[in-house]
Every structure is written in structure tokens, then in C-alpha cells.
Amino acid sequence: MQELINAMVEMEEDRFLDLTKELLASGEDPNAIFRAYQEGMAEIGRRFEQNEFFIPELIMAGEMMNDGAELIKPYLDEDAKTVTKTIGSMVLATIEGDIHDIGKNIYGMMMELSGFEIIDLGVDVPVNTIISKIEEIKPDLLGMSGLLTLAFDPMKEVVEKLKEKGLRDSTKILVGGGQFDQTVCNFVGADGFATDAIVGVNICKDWMKA
């Protein structure tokens, strides 16, 4: 199993998939294999935080995790397929007017791999769509992404509307994108901002612990 974790962390994709197949064929518990994946992901996250790993490794890790999960799925019990433990839920969207989704997608993937349930509303999402989704499912967190500066105003509008509806205090809000900084975070009225995926994930983990 350690070999599998190492293959994942060393980005040896072929070896990682071969080992998964071998372990499954030899009757290894698929849940144990999946736990090994999570251990691998945790190590990859650590290396990212220590500036040893960057976006290529996050993308490769997500890809390996998905391909591996596909291999494992047929071996899992029906129960195990549907029961997923989450540490929190987040409504995630690229705000209206902005159609960029790469940052949002990498972030969403890292959140899911870290145990969050992500409700991804896509790109160019109108303020009111976000508000009604939050009213409907009352998530723990709201994540709004935007590459363009035109994202600032509609994000601020979302925060204000949540206040009006009395939903602001129950929803922690993270904003992110290339031009975000504390100034913009204050302007929007969010609880935090991030310009890279792992920082954003860690902020949410801390919020869920608090």
C-alpha cells in the first residue's frame, strides 16, 4: 500500500494505476485502497503548502484520484458508493459577467478531495441564482470566483443581499481570483480571500473547525 501512496506522490501515473489494478485483483479491500489515495492526497497537499508542488501536480493528483476511483467503484458495496462523509458544504460559482472557470475548477476539485461537498453553479452565475441556491440548501460556505475586476461589484451585491435575507451570518464567504487582495475582500464584505487553491481550502477547513 505504501508503494501505491509513493507512486501517487511521485506522480508516477502508470505505476499508480497498475498498482491499483494489482491490489484489487489480489482481493485488497477497496476502501483501504481509497484511504491510501487520501493519504497520498494529504501528502501532495502538504508538499503544495511547502512550495514543492504546484498546479501541474494538483491537476495530476486529481486526475489519478478520478481514474483510480473509477477502477475501485465496481468493487465497492452499494452502501459505500452513496455514503460520503463531508466536513462541510459549499455553493461555488464564477460570478455573473465572468466566464473564467479554470481557477474555480481546480479549487472545487481540491475542496472535494479534502472532503467538502461542492455545489458548483458554473460560470457567469447571476447574483439572484446564487441567493436562491443559498436560501434553498443553506450551505456552510459560499465560494465566489472571478478573474476580472468587474467581478467585484456583483460579489458585493451577493453579500448585501444575503445580509438583507438574514443569511449572511450562517454562511462563511470566500472570494478568489487573480486580482483579489485584502482591499477587495473588505470592499466585497467577504470573510476571506485566496489567490491559490490550497490556501482557499485551508481557510475553509479552519472555518469548519471553529
Partner: protein, 435 residues
């Protein structure tokens, strides 16, 4: 041997081919252009820092012009850019051509971007649609024959009306009478003919557009404003990642087929140089703008930068210098971890505009190497007060202006701006930016 770059820069800064409205305009142009020349050549203790920022839709935003109107009417676009230049009085003007022309894009059924008039609201900036426009099995086509790939594969995918370009035959048969049939027949097919007609119509519209813009561009120069850019190029890794493979795919390619990525990047170098240099020479302006994307801190490790990005970035920059041009890199994101690489470039030949890079570190490391610029956060322009902007501008100048070799500006291509903060920014630069 005379240095080609110095000569081109000197020709541009002395406004050799510009006709001016009056002597005052000529004097203003020469003063402004020479501020840039001094900064680029790292002249010690020049008069003051030049002030220049790039914009896309900010002129329309601050002057209350509908973005869609600017993209569909050359005169609206030309006038708005001219008015913006004069009103905010930066030391160099932006070229309106970066906003492109809606009717041309419509005629192509252009798919690579969305714009106001094409599915985006009327007052939005155009936006790139990233997709896997080049499939993984097409690396060899790109490497063997980049131009053939761009014509038959890329163009057929990024423009709905050019789809039949994928059927064009080989040009190599033309060397023998009996072998030229496949090309000629392929071009004769009705759908291919229609695609060519669409391209010709789009080009005709674009030609009309530029002819309507030229008077506005000439008026900008004749009233005393040099243009801040003469052409543009890309680093091959960004070209490949932004427009061909897509970010996610290219990042995986770095692990799955690194040798193909490297080969493709190397193959693209001369094409990137040619693209930048051709426009610069046609416009009589040596400044070639190079936006840098995927080599930034956080995107990849230093080892990956050194292997995949820097060799081709450097090759494009040196190639442009050989052509007499000044590579003007815009470092999006931050380059704190990359500054040491940049010290390897020839002295006083390049410019680096920064976004989030630590400006005092950039000043320290590149002091005798290259002109640096920008570093002012757009967030303060959009959400701050004039007083805050003035204070922050002073702080930035203290950190970054050194004893020359600095261009003051905002670290992004602005789609939006605020009148009073932008004015405070420029005024502070003019007063406090004196050496």
C-alpha cells in the same frame, strides 16, 4: 556594428515619421517618448518616471461608452481611446486595435472569445474561451509544420465559418504539374470556397475598420502622445497552454509527454519572434508587449520553469532584441521566485511590468539589468479613495523608482477604472515621480 535596438528606439523616440499639430505637441511627444527611452536604457537620474498603464475596456467604462458600441463602431472606439488618452494624460497612449471589431468576428463566427454582442452583456469586456483546441495526438503535426497546423486545424476550430479549412490539401504538390491536383481540387470544393469567402469578407471588414481607426491613431500621435506598444508576442509555453492545449491539458502533458511539450515550444520560438517583430516594424514602434501567464510563482516549480518556460521565454526575448525590438514583458501574478533568472538577460534591453511581484525585491535584483514597471494594485484604483491612492503611489515610487529604470503603472490590463483615483494616481506620479 550599430546596435539595431538602440537605433530603432532612437528613431521612435525622435518621432521621425510623425507629423505634429504644432511645436508644443512635438515637444510633448519627444519629452514623453524620451522618458521611456531613458527608462529602458537605464539612464541614471532622468527627469521623472514615465507613467503608462494598459487598458482594454477602461476607456469605455470611465467615459460611459457602451462596450458593445466600441466593438461595433470604429469611430466610437477610436474617439473613446483618444479622449481617454487626453483626459488622463498618461505618457503613452494605448492602441484601440486591442479591442478588436465585432463585425469581423461575427463574419468569422469566431469561437475563441465571447464579447459584448456575442452572448456577453453590452457593457462587459471580451473574454477568452479556453478549450482543448489542439488534441494530444496533434503534437507531431504542430511540431513538423506549425503553419500548416495553424491553417488547417487551429483556424478550422476557432472560427465556425472556417471549419472547412480542415479539408485543404497539401501545398507541396505544387512543385510538379501532375501533383498539384489535390490542393487545387480541395480548394474548389463548395464548402471550402464558402469558408474562403467568409475569411475574405471578415478581412475586408477588418481592413475598413483599421482605415477608420487610423485617423484617430494619427491624431493621438500628432497631439503629442507616443504609443506604448508596437506589437505583441507570446512565450511559446503560454501560446501552447492558453490557446492550443488548454491549461489543464498542458499541465498534464508536462508529466505525460514532456519531450513533445519541449519540442513544440522550441519550434514556436521563431514564429513568436516574427509575429512581434513584424508588427513593431510596421508600426515604427520597437516596444513588443509579451504577457506572461503560466510561468508565474505558484503555477509551476522553479525546476519546471527552468525546463519548460524560461529557455523559450529567453529565446523569444533575445530573438526580438536581434530584430531591433524591445521585449516588454508583463508579468501577471508574481515572479518573486523567478527574478534571478531574469538577471541573465542583456543589460538595458528589456522591460518587465509587474503585477503582484515584490517591487523592492525587483528593484534590488534587476537594478542594473532591466527597466522595471508598474506594481500598483488595481484594487486600490477601483475601491480606494484618491488620498489612499496618492499615498500608495508614493510608497510604490519610494520602493521601485530607484535612480531611473522605472515606469509607473497599474499591474493589470484595465477593463475598469475610477475617474478620481486614476487622476490622483497620475498626478502623484507626475509630482512625486521626479528624480
Amino acid at each position: 556594428m550599430e546596435d539595431k535596438q538602440s537605433k530603432f528606439l532612437e528613431d521612435w523616440a525622435s518621432a521621425k515619421n510623425v507629423e505634429f499639430d504644432n511645436d508644443a505637441a512635438k515637444e510633448a511627444y519627444l519629452y514623453r517618448a524620451n522618458l521611456f527611452k531613458d527608462a529602458i536604457e537605464l539612464k541614471k537620474t532622468p527627469d521623472r518616471v514615465p507613467i503608462y498603464s494598459i487598458v482594454t475596456f477602461a476607456p469605455m467604462y470611465v467615459l460611459n461608452v457602451k462596450h458593445k458600441d466600441a466593438m461595433y463602431d470604429a469611430n466610437v472606439l477610436g474617439k473613446t481611446y483618444y479622449d481617454f488618452t487626453v483626459k488622463y494624460d498618461l505618457d503613452a497612449a494605448n492602441t484601440p486595435v486591442l479591442c478588436s471589431h465585432g463585425p469581423t468576428l461575427d463574419a468569422l463566427k469566431y469561437l475563441l472569445y465571447k464579447w459584448p454582442g456575442d452572448g456577453l452583456p453590452d457593457n462587459t469586456a471580451y473574454q477568452f474561451v479556453e478549450k482543448e483546441y489542439m488534441k494530444v495526438e496533434e503534437y507531431d503535426h504542430l511540431i513538423q509544420d506549425p503553419t500548416d497546423f495553424m491553417l488547417k486545424v487551429f483556424m478550422s476550430r476557432i472560427a465556425g465559418n472556417l471549419k472547412p479549412f480542415s479539408k485543404i490539401g497539401t501545398f507541396y504538390g505544387l512543385h510538379e504539374i501532375g501533383l498539384s491536383n489535390s490542393l487545387l481540387i480541395s480548394l474548389g470544393a463548395p464548402d471550402v470556397q464558402e469558408a474562403f469567402m467568409a475569411l475574405l469578407e471578415a478581412s475586408r471588414l477588418h481592413f475598413d475598420w483599421i482605415n477608420k481607426l487610423v485617423p484617430h491613431i494619427l491624431k493621438t500621435m500628432s497631439s503629442g502622445y507616443p504609443f506604448g506598444s508596437g506589437g505583441a508576442a507570446k512565450v511559446p509555453f503560454d501560446f501552447l497552454g492558453d490557446s492550443l492545449r488548454g491549461t489543464t491539458q498542458l499541465m498534464m502533458d508536462m508529466y505525460r509527454r514532456p519531450e513533445k511539450v519541449l519540442e513544440a515550444c522550441e519550434r514556436l520560438v521563431p514564429h513568436m519572434v516574427k509575429m512581434g517583430a513584424a508588427d513593431a516594424h510596421a508600426n515604427g514602434n520597437p516596444l513588443v508587449f509579451i504577457p506572461l501567464h503560466k510561468g508565474a510563482d505558484g503555477f509551476m516549480s522553479s525546476a519546471q520553469f527552468e525546463k519548460f518556460y524560461w529557455p523559450n521565454m529567453k529565446a523569444v526575448m533575445l530573438g526580438l532584441i536581434d530584430e531591433g525590438c524591445v521585449p516588454v514583458c508583463f508579468v501577471e501574478g508574481s515572479y518573486n521566485e523567478r527574478l534571478d533568472y531574469l538577471t541573465d538577460l542583456p543589460k538595458g534591453k528589456c522591460v518587465f511590468y509587474f503585477d503582484k511581484t515584490d517591487m523592492s525585491m525587483a528593484r534590488k535584483k534587476l537594478n542594473d539589468i532591466a527597466c522595471i514597471g508598474w506594481g500598483f494594485p488595481v484594487s486600490k484604483i477601483l475601491t480606494g479613495t484618491p488620498e489612499l491612492v496618492a499615498d500608495s503611489t508614493k510608497k510604490l515610487l519610494d520602493e521601485a523608482a530607484g535612480d531611473g529604470g522605472y515606469i509607473l503603472g497599474i499591474g493589470c490590463s484595465m477593463d475598469e477604472a475610477k475617474d478620481e483615483t486614476l487622476k490622483a494616481f497620475v498626478k502623484t506620479g507626475r509630482d512625486y515621480g521626479r528624480y
